[in-house]
């Protein structure tokens, strides 16, 4: 049974579209968005200029006006930051292509201090705002309890009409175990569903799409609420289960990228469905060809290249959709097409590969290249794959989608094994939420410089600055092959 299919924290206010909102709530959404943009502007201005600078004055004027606009409607304003979403007086703000970066900036600024809630009451004065924002812009004072330190410091200022609350996500599940458990269950179930569906099709059985739909919905829910955990699981590698884990990984990467690009929930579902089924045509390929170790012969290549077309045809045989899954069909058909229309299958009639197909092509290319599988005994390092996808136009990926993908995964994607300048060995466990630190991910140090396991692994933010030197405490000097060290990266994500 689903514990929180409709996540309690994401009940009021849709991420996208908000079709069920009253006019009043939609108005609040608009005002809340204005407030967050004003807040972002004020934080930025205060970080760059002195208080008397006109840019700061303008930014604070805008902030006060935006706050008053909300307070005209409601007596108080409570901004909550939950997961990747902002709520203003319990109405969730719509995240779209025109807002996600600003929301992310404000979210990260609050998150550094583990602030999950900001309260604004009538009567807040200019001095109160500047005091609060200066504290938000300052470095956290206590690594163990950054919110506690922030709260203490705020208590020492003359701020009466502004309040903060802790990150409730952290309180509710301090270790994150529950979230990880749900992510693991979702991942395992989706692999099982993919296996069942593809095996059923291979055996010529009628396959119901209902469990597949449910699995994709669960992946979308996870990406929306628990992205780090579910993306972390894409590092699981199982040679024998490659076809299925690969499909699930492509689904996760695609949905995460779609989220980054501002897709709404239904669009993410369609993208995820296409991604999960992108290789469904392989069920019509001879098993000995799919499982062949080593490179394919010239005769075998054209046979395998039929799998996108077979995927399109296979999807006409699935049951359980009131509508023909056109997008999924096109994703299956186009995921090996290049943006210049080369690649395969060849098109005689006019065709412009769909955006969904181009997204899945990138996710597919990345996961396939970084995985050990038949035809590829030695996987590529993730960072090299990203560079190749970006720099080599003959690969045929959409440059814009690749760029967005890199900004999602970071230069060192989750699961990369890296050597630090301390000669410690670490696994990248999370992309740095600060987009300017994509080369400085969050890592788990798993072996010290002598090769002794660090138990439990130490989690480090590589963007962290050593106050003594003004430089990062640790840096990555290179990525390395986990097999060289006998490391199963997936172990660190389950």
């Amino acid at each position: 049974m689903s514990d929180v299919l409709t996540h309690p924290e994401t009940q009021r206010g849709a991420a996208q579209g908000s079709p069920g909102l009253s006019a009043e709530d939609r108005d609040l959404q608009r005002k809340g968005r204005d407030f967050l943009f004003a807040l972002a502007g004020a934080l930025r201005a205060l970080a760059l200029y002195p208080l008397e600078n006109q840019a700061v004055v303008d930014a604070l004027n805008a902030l006060e006006a935006a706050a008053l606009s909300v307070l005209d409607q409601d007596d108080e304003m409570v901004i909550r930051y939950v997961g990747d979403f902002f709520f203003v007086n319990d109405v969730r703000l719509r995240v779209d292509l025109a807002s996600y970066a600003t929301y992310g900036q404000v979210g990260r600024a609050l998150q550094r201090h583990r602030i999950g809630q900001l309260e604004v009451f009538r009567g807040a004065e200019r001095g109160e705002w500047t005091a609060l924002l200066a504290l938000v812009n300052s470095e956290p004072q206590d690594e163990e309890d950054p919110f506690g330190a922030f709260f203490d410091r705020l208590g020492r200022t003359a701020v009466l009409h502004l309040g903060v609350g802790p990150d409730r996500e952290g309180e509710r599940d301090p270790t994150g175990d529950k979230g990880r458990q749900i992510a693991k269950r979702t991942y395992a179930q989706t692999v099982a569903v993919a296996r069942e569906a593809m095996s059923g099709l291979r055996m010529g059985r009628g396959v119901s799409l209902r469990p597949v739909k449910r699995a994709v919905q669960a992946i979308v829910d996870q990406v929306l609420t628990n992205e780090a955990s579910i993306v972390g699981l894409t590092t699981l590698r199982d040679y024998d289960e490659y076809t299925f884990t690969h499909s699930v990984n492509v689904c996760i990467f695609s949905v995460a990228l779609g989220k980054k690009l501002g897709f709404n929930k239904h669009q993410l579902y369609e993208l995820g469905l296409g991604a999960l089924l992108h290789d469904v045509g392989k069920v019509r390929m001879p098993l000995e060809l799919i499982n062949k170790a080593g490179p394919l012969s010239p005769d075998e290549i054209p046979v395998l290249q039929e799998h996108p077309a077979e995927g399109l045809l296979s999807l006409f045989e699935m049951r359980g959709l009131s509508e023909v899954p056109l997008r999924a069909m096109l994703v299956a058909y186009e995921h090996h097409m290049k943006v210049d229309q080369t690649g395969y299958p060849r098109s005689e009639r006019r065709r412009e590969p769909t955006l969904f197909g181009r997204i899945v092509a990138v996710a597919d290319g990345f996961d396939a290249a970084t995985t050990k599988r038949s035809y590829q005994a030695q996987p590529w390092p993730a960072d090299k794959v990203l560079r190749e996808m970006r720099d080599n136009p003959t690969r045929g990926f959409d440059p814009l989608v690749v760029k967005a993908f890199i900004s999602m995964t970071g230069i060192y994607p989750v699961g990369s094994v890296v050597i630090l300048d301390t000669f410690e060995l670490a696994v990248v466990c999370q992309t740095n939420p600060n987009p300017e630190c994509l080369h400085q991910p969050i890592v788990k140090v798993i072996y010290d410089s002598l090769g002794v396991p660090v138990v439990p692994p130490t989690t480090l933010d590589l963007a962290e600055i050593d106050p003594a030197t003004g430089k990062p405490r640790r840096s990555i000097i290179k990525t390395t092959d986990p097999e060289r060290y006998g490391i199963n990266v997936g172990d660190y994500f389950v």
Binding site: S2, D238, L312, L355, V494
Partner: protein
């Protein structure tokens, strides 16, 4: 279903104080029964009726009363009932079960809301204050949609619920996903000693990549890139995916072997009714167009594939296929254009013409008739001989439709067959024949029309009189003149009288003035005049004659004491002077 589900279901919810529990239970019971009733009414009235509106408003009020006491309430969904805090608050009837097995639709009035929810996996529902205001209508529509679409093709309830963000409704469900699935690929022992030492590895700075390598890709997309993506997403969501999918099928059909070709023809055959059913006539037309191109192009299709194609095109002329198509056009109304239908029908074989004509004759909608007739005309243009062969069809509707089309297309060689339709029992067929004969404009057609002046059906006689007048078929003058004095015309309806008098005036010209003047202004030997209506008709007849004698006769009656006559005379004089 996991254990956690049952735990949750038995938890007291709703937050009502003990003393008020009975009241709340009664209110919850009332609200849920109302909700079930509204859902059934939704099914019964297909989502729209004043009765449904009244029921829905009743439920809204009931929920409003409930939420005045508690901010929310939660019910467990069991197979046959909804349970609030351990007490059944809604119980469906026992007789409705068979309708849910997919064997057919049950009586909506007997469907069980609990079972509908339960069957699709819903196990708990929480209704929160505000639901009645903002989400109840949506939930009712969604439940009705699920109930209407039975069978494997339906969108399941959970998908529809998931697809939407609910603010005042929460639900729990049992997984359709496998339980106990094991994560692949984890060894479960991450703390083994390392098999090598990082220091031993050849380390060069930036030996793989450096942040500088990625400077161009970092960090966020710029404003222009964001705009591009936003535009692309918008276009993507509006894109005609059908054309993309179909083009892929055609490409692969052209370069595939016989097996694949046959499979694709099978898919296309299955798609056609889906597309037609959803009113996508242009897309269906695209399929037929491409199939014709492929079949007649340079590439030779295998024998069985050609046979499948022929079968497919043969099916298009099946009366049932055409009837379904017309039903689609009727359902789609203005959404289907004459051009789309015409374009689609251009791929239909001539054999489809008969069923199509029948459909055009029998449809209740004038718009659909016009659309279908126009489309049929396009099809018939290239199949005139086939059209003529439909005239003797034993089905009156087909014969009548064929006659009309023969007339519009001026297939003069078919005049004899059309004239023979005047002997049919069915008055509509005879009427169609008269209309066609008028269009054919041939002497034999006009001769046949004369006979229709004596037809048993007034509509046919009227049409014949008007047709003869329009054709200026002078030989009909004598027969019309005889009719003017006849008893039948005096007992006929006004329309027929006017038609005959006007036709006579038009055909007789100055020669007819005397007859008409006698009727308008004359008296019998007893000094009696004709009835005012007959005199008025005579005035209308004189109005058709542009001659001083006719004007004089009309002027003599211009001051007639009878207002009916006076008005008719006035109009006739005016029309003469125009």
């Amino acid at each position: 279903m996991t254990d956690s589900a049952t735990e949750t279901l038995t938890q007291p919810t709703g937050g009502a104080p003990d003393g008020a529990a009975a009241d709340v239970r009664a209110q919850v019971q009332d609200a849920l029964r109302g909700l079930a009733k509204a859902w059934r009414a939704h099914l019964l009235y297909e989502g729209s009726s004043p009765a449904l509106d009244r029921i829905v408003e009743g439920v809204r009020e009931s929920l409003r009363r409930t939420f005045a006491g508690v901010p929310f309430f939660t019910v467990a969904v069991e197979e046959r009932e909804l349970v609030w805090e351990g007490v059944s608050v809604y119980h469906g009837e026992d007789t409705d079960r068979p309708g849910f097995g997919g064997a057919g639709r049950s009586d909506p009035a007997r469907e069980n809301l609990a079972f509908t929810l339960y069957r699709d996996g819903v196990r708990e529902l929480s209704f929160h204050r505000g639901f009645e205001r903002e989400e109840m209508d949506e939930l009712l529509s969604l439940l009705a949609r699920v109930s209407r679409l039975r069978g494997e093709e339906q969108d399941d309830l959970l998908t529809l619920l998931w697809d939407r963000d609910w603010y005042h409704l929460r639900y729990r469900y049992v997984e359709a996903l496998p339980e106990g699935a094991v994560l692949p690929g984890a060894s479960g022992d991450p703390a083994r000693p390392a098999e090598a030492q990082p220091r031993e590895e050849e380390v060069q700075l930036a030996s793989t990549v450096s942040p500088e390598d990625f400077r161009g890709a970092l960090y966020f997309l710029d404003a222009e890139e964001l705009r591009r993506l936003e535009g692309e997403l918008g276009r993507e969501m509006r894109r005609d995916l059908w054309t993309d999918v179909l083009n892929a099928l055609f490409d692969r059909m052209e370069d595939g072997g016989a097996l694949r070709q046959e499979q694709i023809v099978g898919i296309l055959r299955d798609l056609l009714p889906i597309l037609l059913g959803s009113g996508r006539l242009d897309t269906a037309g695209l399929i037929l167009n491409e199939l014709v191109k492929i079949a007649t192009g340079g590439r030779r299709l295998a024998g069985p594939v050609m046979k499948s194609l022929r079968t497919l095109f043969d099916q298009l002329s099946d009366p049932a296929t055409v009837a379904e198509l017309v039903r689609t056009v009727e359902g789609a109304g203005a959404a289907v254009s004459e051009a789309s239908l015409g374009s689609l029908l251009s791929y239909f074989p001539p054999e489809a013409l008969g069923p199509l004509l029948k459909a055009a004759e029998t449809t209740a909608s004038a718009t659909v008739r016009r659309t279908v007739q126009t489309a049929a005309e396009r099809l018939a243009e290239g199949a005139r001989e086939h059209l003529a062969r439909l005239l003797p069809d034993h089905d009156d509707a087909v014969a009548a439709g064929a006659a009309r089309l023969v007339g519009r297309l001026r297939v003069t060689t078919a005049a004899g067959d059309v004239a023979r339709l005047l002997r049919r029992q069915d008055a509509n067929t005879r009427l169609a024949a008269v209309e066609a004969l008028q269009e054919l404009r041939s002497p034999s057609a006009s001769e046949a029309l004369e006979g229709a002046l004596e037809d048993a059906d007034a509509r046919v006689r009227v049409a014949a009189a008007r047709a003869l007048a329009a054709l200026r078929w002078a030989p009909a003058k004598a027969r019309l003149e005889a009719a003017l004095d006849g008893k039948r015309l005096r007992e006929a309806e006004l329309t027929e009288r006017i038609a005959f008098f006007e036709a006579y005036g038009q055909l007789a010209g100055a020669e007819g003035v005397a007859v008409l003047e006698r009727i308008l202004n004359g008296r019998s030997w007893l000094g009696r005049r004709e009835s005012p209506e007959i005199r008025a008709c005579a005035a209308r007849g004189l109005g058709k004659i542009r001659h001083p004698a006719a004007e004089k006769a009309l002027t003599a009656a211009a001051a007639d004491p009878d207002p009916v006559v006076r008005t008719a005379v006035s109009h006739a004089l005016k029309s003469q002077r125009q």
